[in-house]
Symmetry: C2
Subunit: 79 residues, 2 copies
């Protein structure tokens, strides 16, 4: 089952990469603000149904893909 | 207007990070395969409507956020 995991910094955590990108975009004339950078992982899970896939994805995201102290995860199961 | 840009490696491009994560997940007992790693950017655009925001986001994604030779972008405009 195809799963997408989005890993984003928690709201209070500083994001120097996002800030740098925001400055670069401003310098190029784009009216962009509040830029935040994160990671996306697409994977295939051998799960019986979407609920099991989501539970597995949440667990492995917190164990391997994200640092739960600083990051939060969003899991999307595709069909 | 809030916009999310997902930047993923194109299908043919090797992804050593995704492969390493796939091996790590396998070692931990997860039945995960085809792991691909990418980037996600959340930003606020000062655009009149969703269509303008999407056009701006696609343009800045190809100019700043992604390398169009190796990566492809997905743009999601929120409300």
């Amino acid at each position: 089952m195809k799963v997408t995991v989005l890993v984003r910094l928690k709201p209070g955590i500083l994001d120097p990469q996002g800030e740098a990108i925001g400055r670069a975009l401003g310098g190029l004339g784009y009216a962009a603000s509040a830029v935040r950078a994160g990671k996306v992982f697409d994977l295939e899970l051998d799960a019986a149904d979407a609920q099991v896939a989501e539970e597995q994805a949440r667990e492995l995201a917190d164990r391997v893909l994200a640092n739960p102290l600083m990051e939060e995860c969003e899991v999307v199961v595709h069909g």
